[in-house]
């Protein structure tokens, strides 16, 4: 099998394995999964840690679609629709079992990867959501950056936790996903004015 193809196969299987059994999953299990000898892995990745890093970059940071920022900022559509669309897509493309497990394992392992994802993507995301919601209502935001993030986290955290509940805690999920998204979007939009005013009052 040619170099690139084999490498891609290993990376894919490694992603599945680490997501399932944690970052301590063994290289021998990975080799067996690929149908190759354990020694061959080391022709493609110098150490297990290099492999882990690459798994993280492709499987955690990769799935986020840059186009989502554009869609969330499309002022021709009502914020309610934009949020509903975004979070349904985000749940499907990112917050699946594999992504969540990898992300949590990495975060717990201290491997300051999660902070990277958070600071590089989610920070911008919460800012966008809050700014766009405020704009739609003709509000002029006057609060600390940290408060903006906290407001954005209300909906993002609630939906992320729904995914954790579903995929990690294996809670039953009889209520269909789009209905859950609809609920959270509704709660967020209906409570938005009052939470913003809370922060504006206090943070001045």
């Amino acid at each position: 099998m040619p170099y690139a193809e084999r490498r891609a196969q290993i990376l894919k299987k490694a992603t599945e394995l680490f997501a399932e059994y944690g970052l301590t999953a063994q290289t021998r299990a990975l080799a067996a999964e690929c149908g190759i000898s354990q020694r061959l892995l080391y022709r493609f990745f110098p150490t297990k840690e290099d492999l882990l890093r690459e798994v993280y970059d492709t499987a955690i940071v990769g799935p986020f679609q840059a186009v989502w920022f554009a869609e969330l900022s499309d002022r021709n559509r009502p914020m309610h629709d934009r949020l509903t669309k975004f979070y349904n897509d985000y749940l499907d493309a990112v917050l699946g079992r594999r992504w969540l497990r990898l992300f949590l394992y990495s975060s717990l392992a201290e491997a300051d990867m999660a902070p990277n994802y958070i600071s590089s993507i989610i920070t911008k995301l919460t800012e966008t959501i809050v700014a766009e919601t405020a704009h739609e209502r003709g509000m002029k935001l006057d609060m600390e950056q940290e408060a903006v993030h906290e407001v954005g986290w209300t909906i993002h955290g609630a939906i992320s936790h729904y995914a954790i509940r579903r995929h990690i805690y294996r809670a039953s999920h009889v209520i269909p996903q789009d209905m859950v998204v609809a609920m959270h979007v509704r709660v967020f939009l209906s409570g938005f004015d009052s939470i913003v005013s809370q922060f504006e009052r206090v943070e001045r």
Copy 2:
């Protein structure tokens, strides 16, 4: 050192160790932490797994205060106060770094412990919160049990995720905790009517 005392010490150190380094932390490290030989551990716990189970029972299920149910059902106080009080207490007593790390490690390890905690405690909690909120507003709830849980999870998930963000992702937390709680309680209460009506309409 007497039997009971030594055993308690081991249990405590084991909790710290497993929370920090995961359920794969080594018995030798634990022994060193206790200042005893590794062999001695096996006089108190037959296997590592027995130790793990006991750590889980005392450190995960233990911290939940039964009195919280009574407080949440105290109809002499407005729901807003009850929720604010409860979630500040819950964040302090349960959702700390140690508890969260243990809980997540256990959940990821498939060790169907998390489902236990969820089904035995959180299920009842969400039911109480939703029922009490509805009662305060003179509403008669008519929706599926699963929908009730989902409604309760909006606030419980949002606050749990705030704790995860803070302790696991190590996101900066400039906004003081009581202000975050206030925000989530406010969002929940102001959105409550509309989400309930959403489920009632659809679930019939």
